[in-house]
């Protein structure tokens, strides 16, 4: 489903050149749950932005659904992105001026769904995530856990093939964090591919595979959670 070949990203300012990703190659198959880990500044978010088609790589290849998309224009990326990718962020990134319903509705609007279709789909997913009773509330009236649940609703409402989660529990306490991880686990069981950037070993344990980055390079690709846990214990 996703394949990168020697993917690089270099940030240039007038005087400094920073290599955020250095020839990263890996593959993610459909239905996988993959965690990306590594210390701050190792390139996790850069990788996620490129995988999420929010940014273009500086070099290498990126195959998304068997298409080479590394040199796509912003418009092409936007098109591909809105049909196939859902995002969940650490800071939820809900629009404060829009209600819960309106926030979740957003991707459907841009996909051109009719108002009645949108209503049906949004209510369906709000029911599913048990946040229907808050549909007319605004983000700032909700707890962090509830906000993240709304964000997950928004990520899945358009039924994307893949969900990219960037530290989804980073701003939540452990109870709410677990709740969100269970939601992601459920989605994965129903066939959605999930790529999650995280600092948390606990969250990573939900994944089937962990990609570890250090200074822009992959250091290990662990196959099993057990191994991860042992490796973590060994550290």
């Amino acid at each position: 489903m996703i394949k990168t070949v020697e993917l690089s990203k270099v940030f240039r300012t007038e005087e400094v050149e920073t290599t955020a990703l250095n020839q990263v190659s890996f593959e993610i198959r459909e239905g996988e749950f993959v965690a990306v880990m590594g210390p701050s500044g190792c390139g996790k978010s850069t990788l996620l932005n490129i995988l999420g088609l929010l940014d273009n790589p500086s070099g290498g290849q990126y195959h998304f659904l068997d298409e080479q998309v590394a040199n796509y224009t912003e418009k092409q990326r936007a098109n591909l992105r809105k049909r196939n990718i859902g995002f969940v962020f650490q800071n939820f990134n809900l629009i404060d001026e829009l209600s819960v319903f309106e926030n979740v509705e957003l991707p459907l609007i841009y996909l051109g769904y009719s108002a009645s279709e949108r209503k049906q789909r949004v209510e369906e997913v709000l029911e599913q995530m048990q946040i229907m009773h808050r549909r007319n509330h605004f983000p700032l009236q909700l707890s962090g856990g509830q906000q993240q649940r709304v964000a997950v609703c928004r990520a899945v409402v358009a039924k994307p093939h893949i969900i990219l989660a960037d530290e989804p529990t980073g701003n939540l306490d452990s109870t709410h964090g677990d709740e969100v991880m269970h939601l992601l686990e459920e989605l994965n069981k129903n066939g959605t591919t999930i790529i999650m950037v995280t600092h948390s070993q606990r969250d990573a344990s939900y994944a089937q595979r962990i990609i570890r980055l250090f200074d822009g390079q992959i250091v290990t690709e662990d196959k099993s959670t057990e191994f991860v846990l042992t490796a973590a214990a060994a550290q």
Binding site: A78, F87, N91, L94, E97, L98, E105, L106, I109
Partner: protein, 804 residues
């Protein structure tokens, strides 16, 4: 989707209330200016188009050449229209107007009214022009002598709701029967008559009525012709020389003068300010004010743009989220444009309120009668909606481009501050705003200085503590001395004199011959008939020779006093006394009048200040009926008392006389009424633009300084003083204003120098208005920025750092 845009736009408006109010207010003021200009432009450009056949109607004008001077006038010889009808098959009909020099007295019962809009007209006026008859009909309405047609408002003023057709009215001492009442003419007609008297009732003494063919040399009528086709005028112009050869040239040759006739389409007469045209407007002024209105809208739009891009940081997250949710750039642009459109529409409603408040002032400045309901006319409504939409788009286009360009990858991580990008653009826009403001303020101040210069200019005579009574058109002119004696009886009247004309009023131009070494030379000279007191009473300086002596027989009609310009022009500087001036030549070329120069006076402004002083002579006539004015000198401070006395005496003297009492200087600034009005209008718009600019700066600095809170915090932690921080913040804005000053100075200088060029008497261009404008801009900008800077600089650094 659109509903979603509007929803978020509305909630955004509420959440950022201060900046929303600023944006809406500024746009509202901009739109108000544009609405008022739209009204004004529509009004000005539609002059005389209410006449059904306006495309086929032309005003005839004469270009007269007399002894080297050319005069382009809106008046033509009386027989011109008849000759044109006879010679040119293209002429369908014509109408001639004769407009009395002064207001005409209308007596209704015991009431007297002084009416300005009375004219004599041919009965064909209703064939040429379009008039709706409320009472009576156009058929034969002005055919008979002593018949007249009234406008609706005059009819209501005199008779209320009564139908006055068949009633008699005393106009200027003669009786006229009312044969019809017409609807009032619209304001935008170049010749707004209120009452028409039949041409056939013109004074029987005026011989040209009896035998018009003889009077090709008397230019007193306003002539309008209606052709069969609008394009026919080209053919008429082509054949005009034939007409001239046949009728005009023979007589012109005899008089040493020549004439040529041209035409102006009715619709353009308003913008063709030829001499003696009833009223005229200026296309340049119209253009300038349209530009000012455009600037107003642009500046208001700039405020919106600046505030919107300054808010980018707070909008960045939303943009990022929308982009990750699949929004395309086009969709985001559409969103931001719908936001600015929404604001523009709200601003439109606010502006209606502003327009309602401003219209009275604007009407007073421009002599118009606009009302808010004028906006409901379909044509204007469409224009206003268009203006609103364009304003919204102009304001929103840059923010839309700028905001939609933001990269989602950067934004969603919370580094949405892309200040660097639009910062330059914002600075350019602020500089532009202030450049325009400074130009307008500098311009307004220059205009005012020039008007002050004209007002305080020495006229060469003493205009203070004088009053003038006009006896124009009065049968009692023969007894002017009786009136003069009566006025003299008032204890505070110190002196009186009489004249044919007074400074500031028109003077007769006469073709004469003057003595020279090469024999008599043809020339044109202004003539005034005065009594022996005039020069002394007006405190006009005698350079050589003496004034008129009432007791010397040869001083009456055989002596002349000339001004310095005349002496200089005729080469008589060294020895002017005794020189001869010949006038009134008969058919054999023999002068009937020979005048000897007995004195030279210093030049004084006998015409208004938009004319150079020209050669002029004064004659003391034998018959006092030549005089039309009594000039009264009185004690300082006795103005009211004396004016009342003069009025009373004049009324008692002749029932038909409506005393027109005015100060001697009154005529002088009249010529600059347009400039006075322009100056007020400029001042008005300049004030509005400055207010908008500063409101914009106020809003902008609030955002910009807010964005630097972290920097301010860090600087304070590191030990910077309050004044150090405030100075740092000032510097940024001061630099922008200084750039604006540098840009505005040469532009204002150039524009105002050109404006001053049009004046005969212009002050020297000075830097004072520019410096005042620049200093004003700097001070107000300082005050504006101070509000936010001081607040920001006082904030506890711990708070501002934590906020980051």
């Amino acid at each position: 989707m659109f509903r979603n845009y509007i929803t978020i736009a509305w909630r955004n408006l509420r959440n950022t209330l201060l900046s929303s109010i600023i944006s809406i207010l500024c746009l509202a003021v901009g739109i108000s200016g544009a609405i008022i200009m739209t009204l004004y432009l529509n009004h000005e450009l539609a002059y005389d188009t209410h006449h059904e056949d306006h495309e086929r109607i032309f005003r005839m004008e004469g270009i007269y050449d007399m002894a080297g001077s050319t005069y382009h006038m809106a008046i033509t010889p009386f027989p011109l229209a008849l000759a044109m009808e006879e010679e040119f098959s293209q002429v369908e009909s014509f109408v001639r107007f004769f407009i009395p020099d002064d207001e005409v007295k209308v007596a209704v019962g015991d009431h007297e009214f002084q009416e300005p809009g009375v004219a004599f007209a041919d009965s064909s006026v209703f064939d040429v022009f379009t008039h709706d008859f409320i009472h009576g009909s156009s058929r034969g309405a002005l055919a008979e002598p002593n018949t007249m047609v009234l406008s609706r408002s005059l009819s209501e003023k005199y008779f209320g709701d009564e139908n006055p057709v068949g009633l008699d009215l005393n106009v200027g001492g003669n009786h006229y029967m009312i044969t019809g009442v017409i609807e009032d003419l619209p304001d935008n007609t170049h010749f707004k008559y209120q009452a028409l008297l039949s041409m056939a009732s013109q004074d029987r003494e005026m011989v040209y009525v009896i035998d018009p063919e003889l009077f090709w040399n008397i230019n007193i009528t306003h002539t309008y012709v209606k052709l069969h086709e609008p394009g026919d005028m080209a053919r008429v112009a082509e054949r005009m020389p034939e007409l001239l050869d046949k009728y005009v040239t023979p007589m012109g040759d005899m008089m040493g003068a020549s004439a040529e006739f041209v035409s102006t389409p009715l619709r353009d007469t308003h913008f063709n300010p030829v001499m003696l045209s009833p009223e005229s407007g200026s296309k340049t002024i119209l253009l300038i004010f349209s530009m000012v209105a455009l600037f107003l809208v642009i500046i208001a739009a700039i405020n919106y743009t600046n505030l919107a891009t300054a808010k980018a940081a707070t909008r960045a997250r939303e943009i990022g989220i929308r982009k990750t949710a699949g929004a395309s750039r086009g969709q985001l642009m559409l969103q931001f444009l719908s936001e600015s459109l929404l604001i523009a529409i709200i601003a439109l409603f606010v502006s209606l309120l502003i327009v309602e408040l401003l219209l009275p002032a604007f009407n007073a400045l421009t002599n118009n009668g606009f009302v808010l309901s004028d906006l409901i006319r379909p044509g204007i409504l469409v224009q206003i909606l268009l203006i609103t939409a364009l304003t919204g788009l102009a304001a929103g286009i840059y923010p839309a481009l700028f905001l939609s360009r933001m990269q989602p990858a950067i934004i969603v991580k919370g580094h949405g501050d892309q200040r660097g990008h639009s910062g330059t653009m914002r600075k350019i826009l602020v500089v532009f705003q202030f450049t325009i403001s400074i130009i307008l303020v500098g311009g307004t101040l220059t205009v005012q200085d020039q008007l002050g210069f004209l007002r305080s200019k020495s006229l060469g005579f003493e205009p203070d503590n004088t009053a003038v009574v006009s006896l124009q058109g009065s049968a009692s002119r023969g007894q002017i001395e009786t009136l003069e004696q009566r006025i003299q009886q008032h204890p505070r009247v110190t002196a009186t004199s009489k004249a044919f004309s007074v400074p500031g009023k028109g003077h007769n131009m006469n073709a004469v011959r003057v003595e020279s070494e090469e024999g008599p030379q043809e020339t044109v000279i202004a003539v005034n008939y005065i009594d022996h007191q005039f020069i002394e009473n007006l405190d006009i300086k005698m350079m050589t020779g003496r004034g008129f002596d009432r007791d010397m027989r040869t001083d009456h009609s055989q002596a002349a006093i000339i001004n310095e310009t005349a002496a200089r022009k005729y080469g008589w500087q060294d020895d002017p006394l005794g020189k001869q001036i010949f006038m009134h030549y008969d058919d054999e070329g023999i002068p009937q009048t020979i005048l000897r120069v007995i004195g030279v006076i210093s030049d004084y402004h006998f015409l208004s200040l938009d004319h150079q002083i020209e050669p002029m002579m004064m004659i003391m006539p034998e018959n006092p009926a030549q005089f039309r004015y009594v000039i009264i000198n009185y004690d300082a401070g006795a103005e009211e008392e004396v004016h009342a006395f003069i009025e009373e005496q004049t009324r008692a003297f002749d029932q038909a006389l409506m005393p027109e009492v005015a100060g001697l200087q009154a005529g002088f600034m009249e010529a600059f009424e347009t400039e006075e009005r322009q100056s007020s209008l400029f001042g008005f718009f300049a004030a509005v633009i400055i207010v908008i600019s500063f409101i914009g700066l106020f809003g902008l600095s609030s955002y910009m300084i807010n964005q630097r809170r972290k920097e301010i915090g860090v600087r304070k932690v590191l030990g910077s003083s309050l004044s150090g921080i405030v100075a740092m913040l000032y510097k940024e804005y001061l630099r922008l204003i200084l750039v604006a000053v540098v840009l505005a100075t040469p532009v204002t200088w150039w524009l105002m120098s050109r404006w001053l060029d049009q004046f005969t008497y212009a002050m020297d261009m000075s830097f004072t208005p520019l410096i005042t404008a620049a200093v004003t801009a700097i001070i107000v900008a300082f005050l504006t920025v101070s509000f936010h800077s001081l607040r920001a600089a006082r904030i506890d650094p711990v708070n501002s750092l934590r906020a980051e």
